[in-house]
Symmetry: C2
Subunit: 211 residues, 2 copies
């Protein structure tokens, strides 16, 4: 099986197409790093990942193995096939220049952000910043206290931990190595990606030829 590998340097991002059936493995090579993932239907970018639909249909804020991530049209976009960590966030938007202004009081001047990295990389697919939804924040460790307050802790991911997302439709995916201090225990690290692919049109033949 063909495997395509990507390496995201700290505080960067990328975007690429995934075919239905391909599996995206998101790897935290050093541990305690977050990766923001967004997705759009390749055929019509108005169909995009929906946090609200996904939380609603799975009836939990913690999506893990066996759960499905839905689009704003209620179609499955990803299935989670494997998850070595079990705690990810789907409440919060990608960090943006305004995130650092509003939430990081001690910050001044330019700060790299996931929103900028997603915008920059999704641009060549004709996707604009306004349409970037709440991301599936892989490895991000957010607790909801009984008061409703949100508490961001260091990611639970250890070196080499990963999550496998199977594309349930043809997709354009945007993905980052997160730029926010608070999300990554105050140290920026890389993210590795693998796309486990196959030529979909040959898959049924391969399967039947074993009979």
């Amino acid at each position: 099986m063909k495997i395509t590998r990507y390496h995201l340097e700290p505080q960067t991002g990328t975007a690429f197409e995934l075919k239905r059936g391909q599996v995206l493995r998101i790897i935290d090579p050093e541990g305690e790093q977050v990766s923001d993932v967004v997705a759009f239907a390749r055929e019509d970018h108005s169909e995009r990942l929906s946090s609200g639909r996904s939380l609603d249909y799975n009836n939990t804020i913690y999506l893990t193995t066996g759960h499905v991530l839905y689009s704003n049209r209620s179609n499955p976009m990803f299935s989670i096939l494997a998850d070595r960590v079990g705690k990810h966030d789907f409440l919060l938007t990608p960090c943006s220049p305004e995130t650092f202004e509003i939430l990081y009081k001690d910050h001044e001047g330019y700060h790299p952000s996931c929103l900028e990295n997603l915008t920059k990389n999704l641009q060549r697919f004709g996707i604009v910043q306004d349409d970037i939804p709440t991301a599936f924040n892989v490895f991000m460790n957010v607790d909801v206290l009984s008061s409703g307050e949100l508490k961001i802790g260091p990611p639970l991911s250890k070196p080499g931990d990963f999550v496998d997302l199977r594309a349930e439709m043809d997709l354009v995916v945007g993905i980052t190595a997160c730029s926010a201090e608070k999300s990554n225990n105050h140290s920026f690290k890389p993210i590795n990606l693998e796309v486990h692919g196959y030529e979909r049109r040959f898959a049924p033949q391969d399967s039947s030829s074993r009979a």
Copy 2:
């Protein structure tokens, strides 16, 4: 002060413009009814209400008096001026035909939904269904258990309870009397609205004339 009143029959919706500074009062006349609210910048509908930005910047899932609801461009859209209930949901999307298929196992055939009611009413502003974001679900009572599981209970609103939202920019607002059994303790009820308005261009003069 001019007050415009709207009455939403059970399982219906409406849409209208709000000027910056106007206050939208959302009233539950009978108690235990939910109202889904979405908003778009009047000048550019690509700027819309963002659950992710709002939860992030307020650092809580329970928004109430003093909190600000933000757009996808991180601009304030609403301030919550008053809140007689204190528990609302900003995690879940408006109920849709698919909601009833996926989540309501005993349901068959057509079911009215907030997404349809929002789409129908926002159409005349040129806003399409794909762009309707996760709603601010006023009076909706959702708990997040420590496992992450979501638990929808009957709304805490009693007859006459209300929430006041001040528009922080010129807006197009879509709003419903929710159609989902589970959200409203299995009985559909109306929602009343009041827009407490003034002619904004006279406001500074009025204020200075008192000096």
